[in-house]
Symmetry: C2
Subunit: 254 residues, 2 copies
């Protein structure tokens, strides 16, 4: 048996997220079915994080053990031949025995795309949140900066998953405009459940004047989810980058 | 009654093209249903051209007559509120009485997108043709140039629609690479049925060495559809630009 790491990319529109579920189709289930046929045995994968229904991944890491004889440089094409068009395996590499896609993760980045113009775009319906009112870039940028650092992020997480601590470190939270697209890129050592989308929803409240940028530190301290903005819709969100040490880190960044 | 022209944009993935059909859902039918509710009377539209099932439009012109009292600057948002997410009305303008979206057209441009890299992209599955073998840019460019000018294009049209003449003038046919995307932009005074996709298919044959760039003039002269390349798949094609004189031309180019 050897440990293998994959870099995959998926359009999450038609999936109930990454993680296997009893009654809904998920990316993990579809990938594991392709792995079973390609490698000849049942394979249990570990993904680098949960993603919700409708959320995408530009770069997502999966680890598993297998005794497959397929050369790893041929594994992506072999898997892609069996996967649907909305999931692609971009690369495969032999990983250290103790590698684990979620536990070995150093930090990750999510990108949230907002189409901020009066007319919606039929080609971005599933990959950006359409928000026609003009967004206040300066206010959003100041609010985003207030999230950076090591804080208790309980104010921006949904209940539903257990975690030892709600303290996380946000490394950066950038607001960039690219034509009609506003792109929010946030990097942290880890994300609580719905944390990225709740921070985005809070920035939208800041743009709308419902929260002041200066209020963010106090809201984090109060740790009350009801006082921050709503969870932004899933289609704007994508896991966009993930960092590991060593050979897997190199593959993920290629 | 006044004549109105609309600029619309649509993702054709879920439609059997523009033109109304008895048993399949089309963009024209969905737009006319939204117009009927918004304007209060049945409306028959004229589109600037047929598009096939799965073909897109970045800029498409529609004309119709109506006695609606809705101010034209508010018509796009009123229609978008009733249209599905894959069709958007971008602009509306009062057109001359004798304007007709298809008959008044001066020339139009189609763009064909090819994803030319080893790994497919889950976000381009419906908007680019995935072609993993490396394309020969130089050969394709030389073949494309041979189509430019006034010729009989019967060699690159499918039967199925009637037309007085198969002579058309191609103004330009450009091959541009943008990262992993090869973009073919072709502009003509008019296109025969499947002409854009048959020319793209012929360029793919040229890249593959099945046809020489120098063969194109002779193939046009022979006017035999069986000697040119296959009709390229629809999802790569989009009507991308259309030219009119006067106020409608200004709206379409904005």
């Amino acid at each position: 048996m050897r440990k293998i790491a994959l870099r995959i990319k998926y359009n999450g529109t038609n999936y109930h997220g990454w993680q296997r579920q009893a009654n809904d189709i998920t990316v993990q289930q579809v990938l594991e079915e392709a792995l079973a046929v390609t490698c000849g045995t049942d394979i249990r994968t570990v993904g680098c994080g949960r993603t919700d229904a409708g959320v995408h991944a530009w770069r997502y890491c999966v680890s598993f053990e297998s005794d497959t004889k397929i050369p790893l440089d041929r594994l992506p094409l072999a898997l892609n031949a069996r996967l649907p068009a909305d999931i692609a395996v971009a690369a495969a590499v032999a990983a250290p025995d103790d590698f684990n896609a979620i536990l070995s993760c150093v930090k990750k980045e999510y990108t949230y795309q907002i189409l901020n113009t009066r007319i919606r775009d039929p080609f971005l319906a599933h990959t950006a949140y359409f928000y026609p009112q003009r967004l206040d870039h300066d206010r959003m940028e100041r609010a985003a900066a207030a999230f950076v650092g090591t804080h208790d992020f309980a104010a921006v997480r949904s209940v539903g998953t257990q975690t030892k601590t709600t303290v996380r470190t946000v490394h950066y939270f950038d607001v960039e405009r690219d034509g009609d697209i506003l792109r929010l890129r946030v990097c942290a050592d880890g994300f609580l459940y719905n944390m990225a989308r709740a921070m985005v929803g809070t920035l939208l409240y800041v743009s709308e004047g419902k929260i002041e940028p200066e209020d963010i530190p106090g809201l984090l301290q109060k740790a009350d989810r009801r006082l921050t903005g709503p969870t932004a819709p899933p289609q704007g969100l994508a896991m966009s980058r993930i960092w590991y040490d060593g050979i897997v880190g190199e593959m993920m960044d290629k």
